[in-house]
């Protein structure tokens, strides 16, 4: 007879000394876990509720400017700092951690329309409505000692005067050229007082410019004639132009997929395009109720933040049609510029009420150093919530956002208008010969034509 019985010796299954960790034994067999789906569902519900309890995205406001903030710039080499320029010509460098001004760059007579930092972080370039381009050197010592907070004014390295007001400036990634726009697109070198190259296409003002992060010679601009134009520095003529029905206020390239860019448009939506195929938008992001003023991509390339004239900041997924998050405050008025911090954790918004505001990118994220156990727990909560987020109870909690009354009303109004138009279109189609009325797809609808 062969016999064996389960016998467990206590020493094998308990810890030896009291300073040891308790021993953990696992058996992943599903039969030990009856009703596991029901338990998971309850956990998903609790995770959704906890996320809402801990959702406190607003961190603080940076006070100091005395006029509306018109532009911001990130320093690629220094995570903690951000430059901001206002409508009265005041440029400041802020330390985000302490939310204080590190130093000021006085000099502009009118509004500062564009700010950009060179790739090595040592130079700041600004342009404004006083027809000047100013080049500043960023003091490295001051940026390191953030508790200095001396607000030292700094003299400009160089001032280049032009003929017309400048509207935007952007620096080449990894190169030493920068582009300014105004009446035309001009390419400058740091040392030359005249532009190295000029591009002109049409007679309207060009209002924004962005260099491509992956292809340093490619840049995209948007103009008052409702067009988006792509330029290649190696060619003498502009490359391609896309004309839409409404003006694009700002463009941002996806840092992880550098051929795609997203344009923030006046018709309350953002359009993502593939630069190789401009006749159709890749995705239309609709959720704002007023013109979208600025857009910036997260360094992960998976989401972007937009600031709009309707006093809200929204975060969209790169391939999703609707926003995943909305931030608003009573005190925040029209948002003119937004930036995603380079570590993908924070959002900085500059608005009409002279404040820069610091927000968390993930509203319920726990800031600071997390223990591995805490991290695992957060990851588990996120995963279990995502598994059941389509079910009605969980969906209701996850989707819920408080909207200010004007936004809510505006949204409802837009909804009724869109529904009425749709119904009319359907009825027209129903009462005409099949095939005579063709509905254009949403992605092509707002594009008028593409010009070579």
């Amino acid at each position: 007879m062969k016999v064996k019985v389960i016998s467990r010796s206590t020493d094998e299954f308990t810890r030896e000394r009291s300073q040891d960790l308790q021993r953990v034994f696992r058996n992943f067999d599903p039969k030990l876990r009856p009703q596991e789906k029901a338990v998971e569902y309850v956990r998903a519900l609790n995770a959704a509720k906890l996320e809402k309890i801990f959702a406190r995205p607003f961190i603080g406001a940076m006070d100091g400017h005395i006029d509306a903030i018109s532009c911001m710039a990130k320093n690629p080499n220094f995570l903690k700092g951000i430059f901001s320029g206002s409508m009265d010509g005041d440029i400041r460098l802020w330390d985000i951690a302490s939310r204080k001004t590190v130093c000021q760059f006085p000099g502009h007579q009118g509004a500062v329309r564009g700010l950009t930092a060179s790739t090595d972080g040592s130079t700041l370039i600004s342009c404004g409505t006083d027809c000047t381009v100013r080049i500043w050197s960023v003091p490295v010592a001051a940026t390191l000692e953030s508790d200095h907070a001396s607000n030292k004014p700094i003299e400009a390295n160089a001032v280049y005067v032009g003929k017309n007001a400048y509207w935007a400036v952007d620096h080449q990634w990894g190169g030493d050229l920068f582009a300014t726009t105004g009446a035309r697109v001009e390419i400058w070198n740091h040392n030359r007082s005249q532009p190295v190259n000029t591009f002109e296409w049409g007679t309207d003002t060009v209002i924004s410019v962005r260099f491509n992060p992956g292809e340093p010679n490619l840049l995209a601009t948007s103009a008052s004639d409702r067009s988006i134009a792509l330029y290649d520095l190696r060619m003498s003529t502009p490359a391609r132009k896309l004309i839409m029905q409404t003006r694009t206020n700002s463009i941002a390239w996806n840092p992880m997929e550098p051929l795609n860019f997203t344009a923030a448009n006046e018709d309350c939506s953002c359009y993502s395009y593939d630069a190789r195929k401009l006749d159709e938008a890749k995705c239309v992001h609709k959720d704002h109720v007023s013109a979208v003023m600025d857009i910036d991509y997260s360094p992960t390339g998976r989401e972007f933040v937009t600031g709009s004239y309707d006093r809200t900041v929204r975060i969209f997924p790169y391939n999703g049609g609707h926003s995943r998050e909305i931030y608003h405050t009573k005190r925040m008025q029209r948002v003119f510029c937004v930036k995603f911090s380079s570590d993908a954790s924070y959002i900085i918004s500059g608005s009409d009420d002279t404040n820069l505001r610091l927000w968390k990118a993930k509203a319920s994220e726990q800031m600071g150093v997390l223990l591995p156990r805490e991290q695992k727990k957060h990851e588990y909560q996120e995963a279990v919530k995502n598994r059941y987020k389509h079910l009605p109870e969980v969906k209701r909690i996850v989707r819920h956002r408080h909207l200010p009354r004007p936004i809510y009303k505006a949204k409802e109004l837009r909804r009724t208008v869109i529904d009425a138009e749709k119904k009319k279109e359907e009825r027209r189609k129903a009462h005409s010969t099949p095939g005579s009325i063709v509905t254009e797809s949403v992605r092509k609808r707002r594009i008028i034509r593409e010009v070579e």
């Binding site: 019985v5 010796s9 992943f28 067999d29 009703q35 789906k37 998971e40 598994r387 009462h431």
Partner: protein
């Protein structure tokens, strides 16, 4: 060849072939995959298809990791009993086993004789560490099975019919003469479930099916099965007043009921001396075992079935995997002692029987699950771990609506049912209902001469017409379709030369 068959244990000596290994791995993999994958070919949405393919791959990887873990990293191996030669396993006695086995396990085989206080019933905590026993005449005791230490002993001075542990060993409930009472580990009475309106009662249902003597919870899905004196077993969930299932199991009253831990098998025993094994997915008998009038039944974690009849306990096992239970072991206690309850100890190869003179514990190799999971049930739990676990179980407490016959339905999509067209009467009824609803609306009373009667009447008429409009549109659509069908028929009848005179209507 013949010798090898006789010995029967030679399969263990020859190393398994690669094919057998991979086949075994596949079966364990299937277990961890928890069902079929999603059919991604039917999807048209490319984005969703891409996301789901990635997810399915991840599931496959985690199932493989779990299967590998099970194969290589489990600390304990299960027990077994193999007869050699002409020996039969059911003739092997407990003292033979106790002699062969190590000293720690042999201490699990004992008899405790308590003559005075009536037949004993017992219950284990899910980890198998603590046991609660109660004698009919009011003797209640909590015992720590690892150290055989008596934690608390008391006399409740009333007849006790049943005892169960609540979520852990600190609370237990005793079914006393009139009402159930809940006690603390120290024996302090916490609640008397006397008044049906206090506390949070979820449901109170009349079965209408006759006297019930047995009740069991199905551990797989949480439904409660009740056995009636008419031979029916009814299954209940807390949120419905009618039973989920009513099965006629036996010709006579049901004397015992037990569920297999995988939730698919149920064993019932009736007074007509038959044990029937039911498949709970099809609600059919899988096997009938005649000749046993078992007063108590219990399934072990590994699927062995213990039946207690009089002073003899029979253990049946399903060794071929085809749900065919055959004799495995048996044990008879002293003549005259009546077995009241058999219960397998979780995570141990032990069967404890409560009888009229106390309780006995015997060794049944191969009945317990050898590897426990610390986060599910830990026999070596410290008090700190117990407190943490209590909080986690409270957080994961299931609302009563989640208890259903098929627990895997949670999170699934309801199948799309094509709604049949409502009949004419139904449409009429709907129309009437809509008109009635509109008539009830109170119109604003206008002042300053704007409240003319004619205007009010006109407004009401407009509202009623608006309410009727969608129904009329539908009717016209139907009429149009019918007319279209008729027209088609007519067209085919006309000769070719007259076809040019047929009025062509634009297609809708």
């Amino acid at each position: 060849m013949g010798l090898e068959e006789e010995t029967g244990g030679s399969a263990k000596d020859v190393p398994p072939t690669e094919q057998e290994l991979s086949a075994e791995f596949d079966t364990t993999l299937q277990k961890y995959l928890r069902g079929e994958g999603a059919d991604l070919e039917a999807l048209k949405d490319k984005k969703l298809k891409g996301q789901l393919t990635v997810r399915e791959k991840l599931y496959g990887n985690s199932a493989k990791a779990a299967a590998k873990f099970e194969k290589w990293l489990m600390p304990s191996e299960g027990g077994y009993l193999e007869a050699e030669g002409i020996e039969k396993t059911w003739r092997i006695k407990q003292d033979q086993i106790t002699r062969e086995v190590d000293i720690l396990s042999s201490r699990n085989q004992y008899d405790i004789v308590l003559k005075d206080l009536g037949p004993y019933t017992l219950d284990f905590t899910p980890s198998g560490r603590y046991m609660a026993t109660a004698g009919r005449k009011g003797h209640v005791a909590i015992v720590d099975m690892k150290s055989m230490e008596l934690i608390r002993e008391m006399q409740v001075k009333e007849t006790v019919r049943d005892i169960v542990f609540l979520h852990n060993e600190t609370f237990f409930a005793v079914a006393q003469k009139k009402y159930p009472y809940i006690y603390n580990r120290d024996g302090i009475e916490l609640h008397c479930l006397k008044d049906v309106t206090t506390g949070e009662m979820i449901g109170n249902f009349r079965t209408g099916l006759g006297r019930t003597e047995t009740m069991q919870v199905n551990p797989f899905n949480g439904v409660i099965a009740v056995g009636h004196s008419g031979g029916t077993v009814s299954m209940w969930k807390p949120t419905s007043a009618a039973p989920l299932v009513k099965m006629l199991c036996h010709h006579g009253p049901i004397s015992a009921l037990a569920f297999h831990p995988n939730g698919q098998l149920m064993a019932t025993c009736g007074r007509e001396k038959k044990i029937k094994i039911w498949d709970l997915r099809k609600f059919e008998v899988v096997q009938t075992i005649p000749g046993h009038h078992a007063k108590t039944l219990d399934f072990s974690q590994k699927g062995l079935l213990a039946a207690g009849t009089g002073s003899y306990a029979q253990v049946l096992g399903d060794f071929s995997g085809s749900q065919n239970y055959s004799r495995y072991m048996g044990h008879s206690i002293a003549k005259g002692y009546q077995i009241g309850k058999v219960s397998f100890r979780p995570y141990e190869d032990v069967l404890v029987m409560g009888h009229s003179m106390g309780w006995s514990s015997i060794l049944i190799p191969g009945s317990g699950e050898p590897n426990f999971d610390t986060w599910v049930a830990n026999p070596f739990e410290t008090s700190k771990q117990r407190r943490e676990k209590e909080i986690h179980t409270l957080l994961d407490k299931l609302p009563p609506e989640t208890i259903m016959l098929d627990p895997s339905k949670i999170g699934t999509v309801r199948p799309y049912k094509k709604r049949e067209k409502p009949t004419k009467e139904e449409m009429e009824a709907e129309k009437e209902a809509a008109v009635e609803a509109v008539k009830d609306i109170a119109l604003k009373k206008k002042t300053k001469g704007r409240n003319k009667t004619s205007k009010r009447v006109m407004k009401r008429k407009v509202l009623i017409d608006k309410a009727k409009k969608p129904f009329i549109e539908k009717e016209m659509q139907e009429a149009g379709k019918l007319a279209g069908k008729r027209k088609l028929g007519e067209e085919t009848e006309l000769p070719a030369s007259l076809k040019r005179f047929v009025r062509k209507k634009a297609a809708v």
